[in-house]
C-alpha cells in the first residue's frame, strides 16, 4: 500500500516490480520469425528501420542503419530463414555507401558528385510509393469481395426449341402415309390382334434406344393399314398421356417423336 503511493509499478515480473515500460517488447522466437517474414525484401526492411528511428529518408545515418540492418539479417540467419541473395546484396550496398562517404573527396569534384546515398534514397522512395499504392489499391472496393455483380438468371443454354405440331400437320402426315400404304400395300387379311397399348410400348421401347425417331420411321408401311392405324393410335395415345413429344422444325419438315424426359421409363 505504501509502495503504491510512492510509484505505481506497471507490472510485476517474478515478483519484481517494474516501474518503466520496457524499451523493446519481448518478442517470442516464433513471433519473431513471423515478424521477419513480413518483410517484402531488403527495401521493405530498410524502410521499417528508418521509420522506426524516425529519421528522414533524405538524411539516413548510414553507420547506424547498416548496423541495424545487419543485425536483422543476422537474426534471419540464426532462425534459419532462407535468406535471399537480395538481402546480402543490400548489405554490401549499404557498406559500400558508407565507405564511399568516409572517403575524402577532392574539393573540385565535390560539387558534381552526388551523395552516395541518393540512389538508395530514390529506390526507397519509389518502393514506398508503390507500397502505399498497393494498400490503396487493395482498399478499393473489388467485385466479388466488396460488392456483388447482378445478373438475372435466364435460361441461356440453347435447349433446342421445338415448335408445336398442329393437328393439320399430323393429319396430312397421316394421309401421306395412308396413301403410301395404299400404293404399296398388298391386300391381306390378317387376324392379328393389334393392341394399341402394345404398340405404345413398342414405340416407347424404340424411343428408349433412339431418343428421336422420325414420325414416318415408326410406321412400317409393308405391314398394312390396320397396323398403321394401331401404331398411329398408339402414338396419339402416347402424346395424349404426354409420354412422348411430337415436334416439327418448320411446316412440312419431318416430324420427330421423342420421349418426354423426366417421365419414368415404361414398365
Amino acid at each position: 500500500m505504501i509502495e503504491l503511493v510512492h510509484s505505481t509499478p506497471i507490472a510485476k515480473v517474478y515478483g519484481e516490480p517494474f516501474l518503466e515500460v520496457p524499451q523493446d517488447l519481448y518478442i517470442p522466437p516464433d513471433a519473431l520469425e513471423v515478424f521477419l517474414e513480413q518483410f517484402e525484401g531488403p527495401l521493405d526492411l530498410l524502410l521499417y528501420l528508418i521509420r522506426k528511428e524516425n529519421i528522414s529518408v533524405l538524411d539516413v545515418p548510414m553507420a547506424q542503419l547498416t548496423r541495424q540492418y545487419l543485425e536483422y539479417v543476422e537474426m534471419m540467419r540464426e532462425h534459419q530463414l532462407e535468406l535471399a541473395a537480395e538481402y546480402l546484396l543490400m548489405a554490401a550496398l549499404l557498406i559500400e555507401i558508407k565507405s564511399r562517404m568516409l572517403l575524402p573527396r577532392p574539393p573540385a569534384s565535390q560539387a558534381d558528385e552526388e551523395d552516395p546515398r541518393a540512389e538508395l534514397v530514390r529506390r526507397l522512395l519509389e518502393y514506398e510509393q508503390m507500397r502505399l499504392a498497393a494498400q490503396r489499391l487493395d482498399a478499393l472496393p473489388r467485385a466479388a469481395r466488396d460488392f456483388a455483380l447482378v445478373q438475372v438468371i435466364i435460361e441461356r443454354e440453347s435447349v433446342e426449341r421445338f415448335p408445336d405440331v398442329d393437328a393439320e400437320d399430323l393429319r396430312s402426315a397421316w394421309l401421306t402415309l395412308l396413301a403410301r400404304a395404299r400404293a404399296t400395300g398388298h391386300h391381306k387379311v390378317t387376324r392379328d390382334h393389334l393392341s394399341v397399348r402394345e404398340h405404345m410400348s413398342v414405340i416407347l421401347r424404340r424411343l428408349q434406344e433412339h431418343r428421336f425417331v422420325e414420325f414416318g420411321d415408326l410406321f412400317d408401311v409393308s405391314e398394312g393399314v390396320p397396323k398403321l392405324v394401331v401404331t398411329f393410335l398408339a402414338l396419339l395415345e402416347l402424346a395424349h398421356e404426354t409420354l412422348v413429344d411430337l415436334s416439327q422444325q418448320a411446316p412440312f419438315s419431318p416430324i420427330y417423336v421423342r420421349l418426354v424426359e423426366s417421365e419414368p421409363a415404361v414398365e
Partner: protein, 221 residues
Amino acid sequence: MKSSALEPVQAKTILETALLTSQEPLPLAELKKLFDDDLGSEVLRKLLDELRQEWETRGIELTQVASGWRFRARPEYQKYLDRLNPQRPPRYSRAVLETLAIIAYKQPVTRGDIEDIRGVTVSSNILKTLEARGWIDVVGHREVPGRPGLYATTRAFLDDLNLRSLEELPPLDELGSLVEQGDPAQPSDETEVPERADEADLPESSAMPLHEADEEQPVIH
C-alpha cells in the same frame, strides 16, 4: 423517322432487361443493337442516366466501368450478402498487391522493372496469380536481349474495381511528400511506426492466421 416511335419508357425497360440479364458489362455499341432505330449515343446515354437515377433508391445500382454498363449490388450491402456466404475470399499477399500496383501505375513494365522497384525477385506464381485472375496480361515485348514480356492491366481489372479507366486509380503520393512521413508530427495511418509490425499484412477485421492470408508463395522465405 421510321414507324416505330419507341417510347422512352419502353426503351429504358429494354435497356434494363438487357443489362440485368447480361453476364458482361455492355458497351454502348452493344446496347445500340437492341433497337431497330439508330438511337444516337447521346439519346442512349441520357436513357442510361435516367435508368441509373431510377435505381438510385435500391440496393442495386447501374454503373459504368471500363467495358461498359452493368448492374452491381451497392458495396454497403455486401456485409449482409456475406452472411449468406460466410467464407471470406482469400486475401492477396503484399507481394501480389505490390506487383499489381507497379503494373497498374507503371505499365507496361517487364518483370525486371518490377523487381527493380520491389528489390526482390518476382516469383512466377505472383504473375500467374494475377494473370489467372484476368487482371494482367502481356501486351508486348521489350526489344532487349531476352525480349522480356511487357505486362499491363486488363479491362477486367478496371471492371472488377468498378473503374472506367486507369485515370480513376487513386493518385500516387508525390515522392517528395513521402520523405516527410518519418516525421512523428505527421502520423500516417499506414506507416506509423509502432504499428508497423502488426500492420504488415494482418487484416484488421479478420482473425485469419497470417499464412492462410497468403495466396501464393512469398518470395523471400
